[in-house]
């Protein structure tokens, strides 16, 4: 079984400042990693994902994340945030399994609320 810990429940930041949202995971097998964003009263949207290869992955809206296997982390970063980035962000993990036997089940972290102030 796997678990995900998002280290900050809330992150306030000023507009145009950089931001990092932290995510650590625990798993006994290799994993796929995802970040989702949820705007108020909406469903979740995929920001980016790490499947294999380069440990730095780029997503939509200028976000990027870096996979660090030794530290079992997948932190999300943006060099300059906008008011419109105010939302809740979720880190998620699924098992990498042969034959698809994990069925793509995602385990989510508790979420980090990013609030961008003018």
């Amino acid at each position: 079984a796997q678990s995900v810990t998002q280290l900050d429940s809330q992150v306030p930041v000023f507009e145009e400042a950089p931001v990092e949202l932290r995510c650590n995971y625990s798993s006994s097998v290799s994993v796929y990693l995802f970040w989702y964003v949820q705007y108020p009263n909406q469903g979740l949207q995929l920001l980016l994902k790490y499947l294999s290869g380069s440990t730095l992955v780029k997503g939509i809206n200028g976000f990027e994340a870096e996979f660090n296997k030794s530290q079992t982390s997948f932190h999300l970063r943006k060099p300059s945030v906008h008011i419109s980035d105010t939302a809740e962000y979720f880190c998620a993990v699924s098992e990498r399994s042969a034959g698809g036997t994990s069925y793509g089940k995602l385990t989510f972290g508790q979420g980090t609320i990013l609030t961008v102030h003018p």
């Binding site: 989702y36 469903g43 994990s102 089940k105």
Partner: protein, 112 residues
Amino acid sequence: DAGITQSPRHKVTETGTPVTLRCHQTENHRYMYWYRQDPGHGLRLIHYSYGVKDTDKGEVSDGYSVSRSKTEDFLLTLESATSSQTSVYFCAISESPLYGYTFGSGTRLTVV
């Protein structure tokens, strides 16, 4: 749009009554999931499906059942609603474990 709809969007029901939530997709994706979202818990998997009539339990399946009689519909039933089942319920679909999910807009369920 993404081709996934949930109904109803909001529902208030009384303790002890059965409730069914519907998830409908037009993407022909194999995998479908039901999650509940509660403050401080993120999203937790209730049940999932990997094909017609192929379903299995997630981590918080007690008090819930599901059915998938055709590819496009995945129904979640609360057998006898309790106040602890007050939550926002999200359906998600996926073509492959590699692609991540597409989420519906959610159903806000209140059990009084």
